[in-house]
């Protein structure tokens, strides 16, 4: 299946919905984040002068995934940045039953003269929100408010 995403036509007409997949849960976190950053700006036109690490732990994988995407939306406004790439490593600590995310976001300050800016994202919604293992890896469905 591999790391991939596709935008969905048939739901939430005014907003944007996508499905993301990955062979591993880390790949899923990366592919969903890439879908999100691609909505806001063409990553190929965004530089790499800004980086930020992001670490978080949650007992539920759904919560960790939701907070991860929310963090990207938050940083877009609070730091005034758009994104070029992401790295995400997720592991389950079975001793205390916690999911840990160790991620990095790479991008640059918003600059419409150099970047192809696209659509602002207001929020990651909980409508039809799904994160689950699939037959051949991991699957997520996300509806964004734009």
């Amino acid at each position: 299946m591999g790391k991939a995403h596709r935008f969905l036509d048939e739901i939430a007409l005014g907003d944007l919905a996508f499905e993301a997949t990955g062979d591993s849960v880390s790949e899923l976190f990366a592919s969903a984040a890439l879908a999100l950053i691609e909505v806001m700006a063409d990553p190929l036109t965004v530089g790499t002068n800004w980086t930020q690490n992001y670490r978080r732990s949650e007992s539920e994988i759904e919560d960790l995934f939701f907070e991860w995407l929310n963090a990207i939306v938050y940083l877009k406004d609070a730091e005034g940045v758009v994104f070029h790439d992401v790295h995400a490593a997720v592991r389950l600590d079975s001793e205390n039953n916690l999911w840990h995310l160790d991620a990095a976001l790479i991008g640059d300050r918003v600059d419409g003269t150099r970047q192809e800016l696209r659509t602002d994202i207001k929020a990651v919604t909980k409508h039809l929100f799904a994160v689950r293992p699939s037959d051949d890896g991991w699957y997520a469905r996300v509806v964004l408010d734009v």
Binding site: A12, D77, L117, R118, T119
Partner: protein, 477 residues
């Protein structure tokens, strides 16, 4: 799903159609509109009908379409004593709304300078991803914005005192407590005052021709006389602050629902009893965001007046740039119906109080509240007026825009932004946009025909047509 026709433009889904429905669901629309509605509307409006404390019926306006939680176009009135409050019934863009400014300018005055005017507006009203406003705020002054709304703007010299009386709630909702707003929300919103955002938000220069005035008396009361008169419309909301308030409280309410033993049909309908500590804190935070949206549109109105003044070499006063009205379409408010206080959620629906209502500003009280409905950038918008029937039938609510019929992804596959921009220019509509893909997403083909939508609320009697406003220039994020 069984849908019964109650009147020419009113349909009802009985409460027997879905387990858990406490009241029926009603959809406004002509048969043509109803048949064009996507399946999500029927599913979502019946989910809303299951919310604890809902009164009479869950409503969806004719511009309704599949949203998240509530349908866009959804209206629900909840008993303040035992009902819930739901951020999903307000939306992420708290107090997303419309502002309309009239002018004494005509099409022949503006057309020769339209390019210069749009260039100036595009420069002074930032739009798109990551746009920052010119207003620099400290944390303390941002709290003043949250408390005072449009009044804060006027106090700072951004606008006129008369703007306030021409704004819903005079642009300042009571019970706005910044302590209920998270640090994250403040960080997202603090630099964004005076910015449009993107998506379906815009600033539009429009013309009112004589043949598109449907009620000359009411139009006159609103300062609209036709004769190719130029007006300016703004559609935007509370920006990152409001988006984060909604995100924060959906999370809080998901946990609270377990404590209050509430279940909902869609996670995005997360809610809490209005009277609970969580419900009250969301209400206060929502009012902070709503006031910030009023302030945002106030600052933008100031920038519009200044831009017109620079281009035409006259003061905004001499150009007759008075505000017609500013009205929210994503909000929850306590209103009184039949001697009962109800928390009316409007998500993509506009308040539409009729003549004589005490909350209608004095200058319009004899005719009713102005209702501003934004259409697609290609087709036009409408100015309507509230009716007594809205107060008795639809919790003083009506439509807010055209309503989408096509997803953003499909719109982008169907039309290219640059092609659309050229086509519109040939039809006399000049567009400046931050994002060409964002422009394509907002193409007219992605929306219902707003005239059909207006016909529905006109036929249902919950608002009446006053004037159609045709676009000549548009700025998009």
């Amino acid at each position: 799903m069984q849908v019964n026709r109650l009147a020419e433009a009113v349909w009802e889904i009985p409460k027997t159609e879905k387990a858990g429905m406490l009241v029926p669901a009603r959809i406004y629309g002509t048969e043509k509109i109803l048949r064009a509605m996507d399946a999500g509307v029927f599913e979502q409006v019946t989910n809303v009908a299951c919310l604890p404390g809902i009164q009479r019926y869950a409503l969806c306006m004719p511009d309704g379409h599949w949203g998240y939680g509530f349908p866009i176009g959804g209206v629900a009135a909840l008993d303040v004593r035992n009902g819930v409050i739901s951020p999903g019934g307000v939306g992420y863009d708290i107090n997303c709304g419309m502002r309309l400014i009239r002018t004494d300018l005509t099409l022949s005055d503006v057309q020769p300078r339209l390019d210069a005017l749009l260039t100036e507006l595009f420069r002074t009203v930032p739009a798109g991803v990551g746009a920052k406003g010119f207003v620099k705020l400290s944390r303390r002054t941002f709290q003043d914005v949250m408390r005072k709304g449009a009044k804060w703007g006027v106090e700072q010299g951004y606008g006129w005192e008369s703007d306030l009386i021409h704004t819903e709630e005079q642009g300042c909702l009571a019970r706005a407590d910044p302590d209920c707003v998270s640090e994250h929300a403040c960080q997202r919103g603090m630099g964004q005052l005076g910015t449009l955002g993107s998506g379906n938000h815009y600033l539009e220069i429009q013309v009112v021709t004589n043949d598109r005035i449907f009620d000359r008396h009411v139009a006159g009361q609103f300062g609209i006389h036709g004769h190719d008169q130029i007006v300016v419309m703004v559609h935007c909301g509370s920006r990152g602050l409001g988006h984060q308030v909604c995100t924060d409280y959906v999370r809080i309410f998901e946990k609270a629902m377990k404590r209050y033993d509430i279940t909902v049909k869609d996670q995005q309908l997360a809610c809490a009893p209005y009277q609970s500590p969580e419900g009250q804190r969301y209400y206060s935070a929502m009012n902070c965001a709503a006031n910030t949206a009023f302030a945002n549109r106030q600052v933008i109105a100031h920038q519009i007046r200044e831009a017109f003044s620079r281009v035409f070499g006259e003061s905004p006063e001499r150009l007759g740039m008075r505000q017609v009205y500013d009205v929210a379409h994503n909000i929850a408010k306590v209103e009184r119906y039949d001697e009962q206080d109800l928390l009316v959620h409007r998500k993509g629906a506009t308040r539409a109080f009729g003549p004589g209502h005490h909350d209608v500003p004095e200058p319009f009280r004899a005719v009713g509240q102005p209702v501003i409905c934004g259409g697609s950038m290609e087709t036009g918008s409408y100015l309507l007026v509230g009716t007594p029937q809205a107060n008795t039938e639809s919790f003083g609510s009506t439509m807010h825009g055209a309503g989408r019929t096509m997803s953003r992804a499909q719109a982008k596959r169907t039309v290219r932004g640059t092609t659309l921009q050229q086509d519109m220019a040939q039809r006399g509509i000049m567009v400046k946009a931050v994002s060409m893909s964002g422009l394509a997403e907002e193409a007219g083909i992605a929306y219902k025909n707003i005239s059909d939508v207006v016909e529905s609320v006109n036929a249902a009697g919950i608002t009446r047509r006053v004037a159609e406003l045709l676009p000549i220039g548009n700025i998009k994020g």
